[in-house]
């Protein structure tokens, strides 16, 4: 038998997963999303901790929520996949630096592709294009200004039935902003 001449590592069926197929086994990829959340949380906390204080890096992590019986909203999406349409839905977004601010949003989701236009109470607006949980955003259509760009991860859930009501909740981390804030302003 040729097996007798082989090394023991080549015979073991579970060498590829450190001989622990119970712990290191994920055939359905169910752990992928929790892994993204865990890594992004660790990296964002690290970047916030290492950024200069005057840059207010904490403003790059924000929590948003909206709920209203009035606007025309239908469909559902979860973590960037679904089918939904939102028209002038009022909501509130909060971060550690600027506090809370009201906004209205219009947008939609087609499978993994999403777009959103948020207009804030101070008159500014942000347009966001997303693919799954990854997004790119631009403030006030100012394409030339690098500081108006944002990119990162958005974990959101939304659902709505016309004339019954709708609600959204999301947690966004702007990694581009966090990286930008690592350097002193003006450089």
């Amino acid at each position: 038998m040729g097996l007798q001449n082989r090394k023991i590592l080549t015979i073991s069926k579970h060498t590829f997963c450190a001989n622990n197929p119970i712990v290191y086994y994920d055939p359905d990829g169910d752990l992928f999303l929790p892994l993204i959340i865990l890594i992004s949380a660790m990296v964002s906390v690290l970047l916030m901790a290492t950024a200069p204080d005057e840059n207010n890096a904490e403003e790059n992590a924000s929590v948003s929520g909206s709920a209203s019986p009035d606007p025309l909203t239908f469909g559902f999406d979860i973590f960037g996949v679904g089918y939904s349409f939102t028209m002038e839905q009022p909501g509130v977004t909060c971060d550690f630096v600027n506090g809370c601010q009201e906004f209205t949003q219009t947008g939609g989701q087609f499978g993994p592709l999403g777009i959103n236009n948020a207009t804030y109470e101070d008159g500014s607006n942000t347009k966001t294009i997303s693919f799954l949980v990854f997004y790119i955003s631009i403030d006030n259509n100012d394409f030339d200004d690098f500081s108006s760009w944002g990119a990162g991860l958005s974990f959101s859930i939304s659902s709505g039935i016309p004339s019954y009501g709708s609600g959204t909740a999301s947690f966004d981390v702007d990694f581009l902003g966090l990286i930008r804030d690592q350097y002193p302003q003006g450089e």
Partner: protein
């Protein structure tokens, strides 16, 4: 050495094409919507709320096109035409049901790659619920070439 199962290999190729075709169709429906959102501020200058109306109309039109394109474009939406695949009923003879197409499209929209990687099982589920299947289209140029090679001189 294991022999490659040709039938399974072909099936895997079709599923890969099907997955890509779904994304192409979603992109086609998504692009006009993106344009309408980005031009909202300009359109709003024409009249108050005009931008919102346009966004709503474009979303309805693109959604309508996305959900029904398979039915009205001879069993193949634009994405499926690009990848040379088509939808047929399981018995291959009946005309494609409108309801099957709509359910198929809704189920395609619910596939979340971050929750579940296994697109093959999702495809099987769609096929079972809608009594339809995805098949490779026989390309006209290939058929013509075969006809030419079969000609006896």
């Amino acid at each position: 050495m294991n022999m490659v199962n040709n039938a399974r290999y072909t099936e895997a190729q079709i599923i890969k094409k099907y997955k890509r075709s779904i994304f192409v169709d979603q992109l086609i429906a998504f692009i006009p919507f993106v344009v309408s959102i980005f031009t909202k501020n300009t359109i709003d200058q024409l009249g108050d709320g005009f931008g919102n109306i346009l966004i709503g109309v474009i979303f309805i039109l693109t959604s309508g096109f996305y959900f029904t394109s398979d039915y009205f474009m001879n069993n193949s939406s634009i994405g499926k035409k690009i990848y040379h695949i088509e939808i047929l009923m399981n018995d291959r003879k009946r005309k494609l049901l409108f309801l099957s197409i709509i359910i198929r499209r809704i189920m395609e929209l619910t596939y979340h790659p971050l929750f579940k990687h296994d697109f093959v099982s999702h495809c099987e589920k769609i096929d079972t619920y809608t009594s339809t299947c995805i098949l490779e289209k026989k390309r006209k140029d290939v058929i013509n070439n075969k006809k030419k090679t079969n000609v006896v001189h």
